[in-house]
Point group: D2
Chain length 329, copies 4
């Protein structure tokens, strides 16, 4: 929240991993900008579009009928060059061609770090909108895409449970989350998983093996384990190896949900949050609340300086793990 500078032409881009709801955010930025008399440009493929002069004028119709679409009409990418001084100079030169004097970046913490650097160097105000399915960011309770991703995981695991129950099997389902276990934790509780393994906690493999062995003795080894990618042992395949060795009679199967979690029509919540964040991002540019990320904390819009909007591993409350244990029993 630094200097005041009158903004008249803004660029919007999506950067980093894509997340359902990014299109709803783009739409909100474009239409709010136009409403307030700004010219709005779409920058393609993250910061690459700035480097390669792939920048297109947008109007209200450019964003018609996209609120319900997964993916991002502006495409997204990671850009190494933008993290070099040379790259950012080139990017700035291209923005100047269009007269762009404000940016909205929809992405994750890496993208925001780049934005902060850029803002510092070239005095272009930047506003961040948190778009990542992982939800692990400081300064906001929600990130765009998480709610859709977790519902996709739940629907997939519901299907897996059908076949698991039909065959009395042990399933290990891996969901996304290299650093954060939110998708695993939420989808695991929502599908009645017996065990949930996440990066935030140590995986107690002995306790797991013990409980499976006990179940096997009672001839009832139907068991659902939901695992985050970034779990200590390295995910579903690694856990499966241990189980197959230590509980050889279990009829064990592995499913890795993978990229389906990144696509699909966004949920109501993701569209709603994205719409609000897009609106407040443009408002922030206009009133001089610069270089912040727009977040939501306790159901209220909240602004965090871009350089503090970092990936943040939150402690998972003890009650959560207790609830997992009690409810799956």
């Amino acid at each position: 929240m630094t200097e005041k500078k009158k903004v008249t032409k803004i660029g919007v881009l999506t950067s980093g991993g894509d997340a359902p709801g990014m299109n709803a955010a783009i739409r909100a930025v474009v239409r709010t900008g136009i409403y307030y008399g700004l010219e709005v440009f779409g920058i393609m493929r993250g910061y690459n579009g700035m480097l390669e002069d792939d920048i297109i004028p947008m109007n209200s119709r450019s964003v018609a009928n996209i609120i319900q679409r997964g993916g991002t009409i502006l495409k997204t990418a990671r850009s190494k060059d933008f993290f070099e001084t040379e790259g950012r100079k080139k990017a700035y030169a291209n923005l100047k061609k269009y007269g762009i004097d404000g940016l909205v970046i929809i992405g994750g913490d890496g993208s925001f770090r780049g934005a902060q650097k850029f803002a510092n160097e070239f005095d272009i105000p930047c506003i961040g909108i948190p778009g990542t399915i992982d939800k692990d960011m400081a300064g906001t309770d929600y990130t765009i895409g998480f709610d859709t991703a977790v519902n996709t995981a739940v629907e997939a695991i519901d299907k897996i449970r059908d076949t698991m129950d039909a065959h009395d099997r042990l399933f290990i389902v891996e969901v996304m989350g290299r650093d954060a276990g939110y998708i695993a934790l939420h989808s695991g509780i929502a599908t009645g998983a017996e065990n949930i393994l996440i990066p935030e906690t140590k995986t107690d493999i002995e306790a797991l093996i013990h409980s499976l062995t006990e179940k096997e003795k009672r001839k009832k080894l139907v068991n659902l384990i939901v695992v985050a990618e970034g779990e200590e042992f390295g995910g579903a395949e690694e856990i499966a190896k241990v189980i197959k060795e230590r509980v050889p009679n279990a009829d064990t199967r592995v499913c890795i949900l993978g990229h389906i979690q990144r696509g699909g029509a966004p949920s109501c919540h993701d569209r709603l949050v994205a719409s609000h964040m897009g609106y407040y991002a443009v408002e922030s540019l206009l009133i001089g609340r610069h270089n912040v990320m727009v977040g939501v904390i306790n159901n209220k819009i909240h602004y965090t300086p871009l350089d503090m909007a970092v990936k943040e591993r939150q402690a998972i409350g003890q009650e959560w793990m207790k609830i997992v244990k009690i409810l799956a029993s």
Copy 2:
């Protein structure tokens, strides 16, 4: 939050209008109860089961494989007799037969009023869990079922938009909400509705007709109006009458989404919230935090005395309506 009394046998029931996620709450109450050594009974069809002695013992397996199901395995109803002193006496007599000394009621404000009376008269501690798709309750940001209902509405309206756009039509879609416009407001923003009519605000019919007439002049009368049941004029059919008379050239269609909004597999959020509320409801009975509703405020569990957990029409922030207007343009 009154007296302390040791609880050993509890009953759980669903009452009033059903809502997706009620089964997840039942499951959490039953399993948490059993975990803490309680006996748990299911009471069928709301308070009617108490009056008619339709009460069944439940164990952990009674609630297996229901977390993903819509509806309620205990069925639900409204009970007039329970609102008579005679009825409550009979209900109490039946509970005594089983030794039930604590109740968890999953329902809305009407159900909670009954519970409060019953608790006062017979010294049976009651805990309420807010289960209603309408979301309009004091003491909680969420009610079980709202998130599912609103996503069902969004999916339905997305489909309607396909055919609306194909034919350049004007659609008036009615969603549930006799007293509250949340479903209309959330689903309307999420589907890019041009107009949203809700009970909380006066319907400015002249402004609506004016904007439609303007659009018609420009030969572009594709327009989505989302209307809550309880809107001032009386819902979609009434609004359609006015429009057909005043904008006769519009190709106007009405869709009333109706009861599909009450069913279906609950969303991840509804299952999660229901699971937590069920857990904390039983904990409340155990530690003597009696005659409260378990709610969630600002992402934290929050308890409200049952008689204060009333239907509450919240003011809709001005920004919300502004965002509707800006984003649909």
Copy 3:
């Protein structure tokens, strides 16, 4: 299947009521045309685009990423003027401007009648692709959109059943089908409806009332009635009136599914059939198999002269109604 004429530039249009899968058919027509060296034009809003010169050149990218979309990117409409000689003359004049010498019409029997007239008068070969959710056409077992519409109906009725069971209610659900009962019959059997009322059979209201009264005596009046729009009595509301009068204790509710049945991402089957039909439509233009509708009979592509591709009410086999009765009991 008349004269041979070399075709080089073709137009494609969607006409009449829209149906999910029309976009998949458009895509197939455009890409097959281009593959075979034709120029392809999109004609907007059915025959209106021909009358008003709303015709756009299409290439392979025009139809990228549409196979999964409901609606039709070419929009659709009914055109009165095209059914006048003057109108068709104007349409022909506009086609000549572009050199269009072949047409693919995706629509229903009304659209095909217009096409046949046009083909006769101006020697422009026309190929029909059956696109209608109603499925009631001679010359084909499938029409594009039916499979999606019926699955949408099934998903909606599944949700309604959740709330019906929770409350022990009687639901009357109306699905589309002014002349044909296929959607009602298929969705009714698939959702375990107790009664299915369709235009193809007389509605035996006395038998219906009798069975409901019997159920009521046994205090188990949970009952699902699926009704086609074109049912003898006039649909769900009319049936409800009779039931409310004759079985007043029933807790009766009406749901009219309406236009959600026309939208949504097409099912695999609709996309597949549409893709094949689009391919064979262009092939037909090329090899001189003119003025036919492309259909599928017994899983094989089948061609019917356009003037014989009429709406056809098929007799519903007696076993079907027997199965309804046996399985719902």
Copy 4:
């Protein structure tokens, strides 16, 4: 279609891999049996239930509210012991205890082989209902579960396409089908896959690499490859290895859809076909059309002697592969 024998008590079981729609078939068998005055027993976990005397009486309510559920309420398994003479003797002894004199087996060709042996040895008439997501059986155009599985695959791939397009990536998606490419072929065409690799055809890896390399030169390497498990090279991971080596600049990702394809609410078509097959299976037992599989050929019920109802790899028509090529271009 052999001897006539009066059947009075029948058993129904699901065997082999589970498939969505099996519950609809069980329901139809039970209710049709009861309608015709038979006693009906459910046999748990395939032939294992016969061997271990895990057999339960069923009535109309046993199958209420299951038509929409994935999995199988009777559970399923493969049984080695039933393929030994000793096992079948034991099974017969158990059936005799209940007086069961007819069987309906819902499963695949392995299950039918066992049934034929059993029928020959013990003169218990057996009727097969084809339940397998793979669709590759002689004697029927449809098998229960295929339509649901292929729609699940399509919905998943639609989501993957969102993220594929956002990032301009190359995705290799593996669907089920160890011996048959139907799921790959149908879901691939329906999602606009550029390449479809199936067991029925030789994988021309050089042509594939060539086309990818050409695309890469034009800087447009967005490409979807759908692969059946049983494809010549061994599935998605193996194909990915080759591509990563030969087209190293491609941003290649692998998704294995896995067991989600076996679960979920069955599609309308699967419920409908299962309901019909269940009805005709019981009818067959009653009228002495014994030891056959009930199939559907050209939309008509068709009976095949059980020993001829084998897995059958059908030739994939040349037009299909041509259509894949033309439409994805």
